[in-house]
Symmetry: C2
Subunit: 193 residues, 2 copies
Amino acid sequence: MTPSPVSDKRQHVVETAYVLFKRAGFHATGIDRIIAEADVAKMTMYRHFPSKDELIVEVLDYRAKRFDRQLDRLAQEGIPPEQKIGRIFDWHARWFRSPDFHGCLFAHALAEFGDPGHPVFKAVVRQKNGLKRCMRSILEEMMPRGRAESGAAALLMLIEGATLLAQMGQADAAIRDARKAAMGIVAASRKSQ
Amino acid sequence: MTPSPVSDKRQHVVETAYVLFKRAGFHATGIDRIIAEADVAKMTMYRHFPSKDELIVEVLDYRAKRFDRQLDRLAQEGIPPEQKIGRIFDWHARWFRSPDFHGCLFAHALAEFGDPGHPVFKAVVRQKNGLKRCMRSILEEMMPRGRAESGAAALLMLIEGATLLAQMGQADAAIRDARKAAMGIVAASRKSQ
DNA sequence: AAGTGGTGAGACAGGTCTGTCTCATGTCTA
DNA sequence: TAGACATGAGACAGACCTGTCTCACCACTT
């Protein structure tokens, strides 16, 4: 029996590559390492992905989809918007404390693939815009469009900065200060302009 | 005549490496590329730097020193603290608009060298802590120590996030929203807790 | 005039990189 | 039973990587 329509191995390679990329970076992680860790033949990998770059894009899109799903669950209907924002920060706090936290894979990808025309670069932009859009739609529940756009950008920047500080070993202080600043921004934007 | 006590070439290699690292990343930039661009023999490089990693640390420390000098000039005495913060954001706005802006080299270094024990990692932490310390000392002019520490962290996170967004092509909006959020944080922290 | 030290040029070693190719194997389907 | 197909194993090419080494050169000092 074919294990699954478009194969088991493909997804297994993606998940293995994800772990290795996260731990050691993209250029520093070789194809040989990936296929050894995934226990898969080289040709199996190259039959599913035309190149390493395409594999990287696949890994990023896969993680972005997972992240979006978790985000949707946090920001479900029937909860006041402040609480939704709070939950997003809670989620990040848990992430920062997880044993194999190594910073944001998308930010790392941007560092290694700085050419705006590169598919990896575009995948990163997609993910970050998605997160910003999510926060903007939350803020729009309590403030006009323009202010929600600025506020979402501010929240996104705080989160990205907190992720960086967390990677430098200041996770607890970072998430606490970012949350405080975020709540201040939301409260101020709600009241007036 | 010996050109300079510890040689001209050394600094020239550092500056050439800086440009290449900034443009293409650390792992993706080979030694051969650096010496070719610097027009220097390989042995000249290896006589000054024991390894590529040491060169990277040297490049980072060199840029950190330059950055600190510019920062000191911005935050000179006799200026109200709000204005000092404003100037730091102005400086970043100009940086984001500069033609060869490619994001923060230190953040990129963190992405490629995620091991906390690695010298490159430590060099990044030094630089970020320096920037945070600078902003904290500015905030301490107008608020107590504890609040200044949190506020400085928030400002640092906003700046790091803005730099990331700027690299994704949203420089103008990022710096505008980050500045607005920063001023709100400063004003709120000044008044009370 | 002899020596010293930084440098240039490039060969070289040993390893790793991505990506291609061949051939054998097993497994499901018609 | 026969064919189709994904896979395993690994050789292979060609490029690139870091780092070492030798030898010649040249400028300056003593």
